[in-house]
Symmetry: none
Amino acid sequence: MPRSEEKFKELREQKRIIIMDAALELFAEKGFASTSISMIAKHAKISKGLMYNYFDSKEELIISIVHDGFDKFLREFDANKDSVLTDDEFEYFIDKTFEVLRNNLHFWKLYFMVIAQPQVLKLVDKKLMELVIPFITVLSEYFAAKGCKNPMAHAQLFGAMLDGVSLNYMIDPDNFPIEEIKQIIKTKFI
Amino acid sequence: MPRSEEKFKELREQKRIIIMDAALELFAEKGFASTSISMIAKHAKISKGLMYNYFDSKEELIISIVHDGFDKFLREFDANKDSVLTDDEFEYFIDKTFEVLRNNLHFWKLYFMVIAQPQVLKLVDKKLMELVIPFITVLSEYFAAKGCKNPMAHAQLFGAMLDGVSLNYMIDPDNFPIEEIKQIIKTKFI
Amino acid sequence: MPRSEEKFKELREQKRIIIMDAALELFAEKGFASTSISMIAKHAKISKGLMYNYFDSKEELIISIVHDGFDKFLREFDANKDSVLTDDEFEYFIDKTFEVLRNNLHFWKLYFMVIAQPQVLKLVDKKLMELVIPFITVLSEYFAAKGCKNPMAHAQLFGAMLDGVSLNYMIDPDNFPIEEIKQIIKTKFI
Amino acid sequence: MPRSEEKFKELREQKRIIIMDAALELFAEKGFASTSISMIAKHAKISKGLMYNYFDSKEELIISIVHDGFDKFLREFDANKDSVLTDDEFEYFIDKTFEVLRNNLHFWKLYFMVIAQPQVLKLVDKKLMELVIPFITVLSEYFAAKGCKNPMAHAQLFGAMLDGVSLNYMIDPDNFPIEEIKQIIKTKFI
DNA sequence: TATGAATGAGCCTTCATTCAT
DNA sequence: GATGAATGAAGGCTCATTCAT
């Protein structure tokens, strides 16, 4: 591939990211249906028409954002998949999760918007499963190693609990005692 | 009040409920924005215009549904507010919660739709607080009596966990091991 | 006609008038299109359905109001039609006109609303002509007797001027010097 | 500014005018409320949606038409504001007024529609005052210079009379002797 | 006579998407 | 690539009118 073409691809990718960031911010703030393409284009400082040069449709845009976010999320954790977690690794996992949560509030708002809306969830659930299953599996193995009777249910409860904590944090970040709650979770589950 | 007038009011109330049920079903299935008044009217077997005889707007409709659901929910629990919960009462509370969850899947889908959508949440958050605060208070007192160091954070974690469990159950009721999870929660929190 | 039937007719006529008064007030205040049958019914303290017992349609209602107003207006002046006006009679005519104007502000608002809206004017223009032509004729004869070269144009100008004065008075009754203007008109035209 | 951008703006302005002309014609013919955006769009040979690219709402459309018309009207007269009118200037003013009246029948229909409809008048009355006050002032000074006792009332009567004449001409242009009436006005007021 | 629930056509407006430039 | 004018379907909502009671 000639250098100029490479550079071109890179520029294109950067513009894609600019659009996705603008869209993410607005989606998180106003919801999917209440955010128009016009608003996204204005916020990304491009024209409406150009949007369609990068994304086929509004749906494809939100799908891309969610997929991208999932990928980023996975990349933060992908070291520890081959063997059973140690307690230290599990604690690291918890810390990392809360850190990611805190640093990507917009994305998690979008995430809940997506899974709470059946019609949007459909667009994304396959990818979501790809993300969730390895997590649940790793967790399940961890709890099995700790001697839990029903490690799979333990893992699912743990995942659900993280969902619930994220959701409540997201709704009112300033009044949710995220740090204390992290400690309690560690006490109860490690 | 003459009987006929009383009857009129009753008929009106019944029709309101028919409309709200129809709307709840569609909202839960397709989301708020993706459900049109036309669809609701058709599903409730009334004309579009009649909706507006019973509800001022689409927003007022979803607000009414949510408020009604919250009230129904509260009525199931209002016995145990005056003193600290015993362990048995706490267990009963957990059982009841899971029972209500199972029997009102549509409503809980709507509930998550609502809290995940900023623009809709705004319409309802005062009422939501009225619902949540007494629960958190009662839970907090319970955990305090059990000797927890940070009873309020415990209560909020517990509430968040229930949210997360509900959410995951709602997304895929058939594959979420709700009963096992209830047992684990009891073990960990009573 | 038996007495009861007579009484019945009278009651009916009274109710008609109540409805027309209520409608006139609202039409004058908000305009024809912006006043709904519901509002009129509420203001007249009857049900929407009953309105249609007295008037076939919203259009028939406004037509009735206008016709009634014209008839009332005519009845105030019908003495002086058979012969040429004296100067005193002409002055009396001017005084009377201004008095009627002041006492029926709502009606004159409606009147201008009607003639300014082609689609409504159509419904009423025949009756309007029946009202206007005798006036113009009488005025024209008066100006002819005074020796004006073009008495018909004089009469039409005079009529138009009264329209204009009414219109301006109606728009802002408190700041339009109606009494001074009456004097000027007398000076210029008697 | 590059030529192309300039041209864009010009094209945009032209389209705005096309829409306003189409709307003016229909408003004058059928009234404000009875003219739908669909009808305007069809008459302007554009799509319904495009209207909203040029005007925020139906109300903003009529406001723009009225403001534009007033501005055009003012531009025809703005020479004679600094000192008292001579008789010749006053006669020129009358001639000009009648000429403008004759050449802009649609606009004057709209004008009367607007001032006869309280809800529409509100949208426009500030601008209307800006138009009327200088006229009344100039007229008032003219009549004062002629030695009238009550020049302000004279001026207001004169303005009202022009309103009334316009109104009657507008209702039935073919049968209203506009030219003769102009002569009578000159005789009576110069 | 009197009510107001019910209808449905039609209105204003929004918005994802396309396309000429 | 980039723009934004243009389209048209669809949505929320209003309202004159009808009709069962």
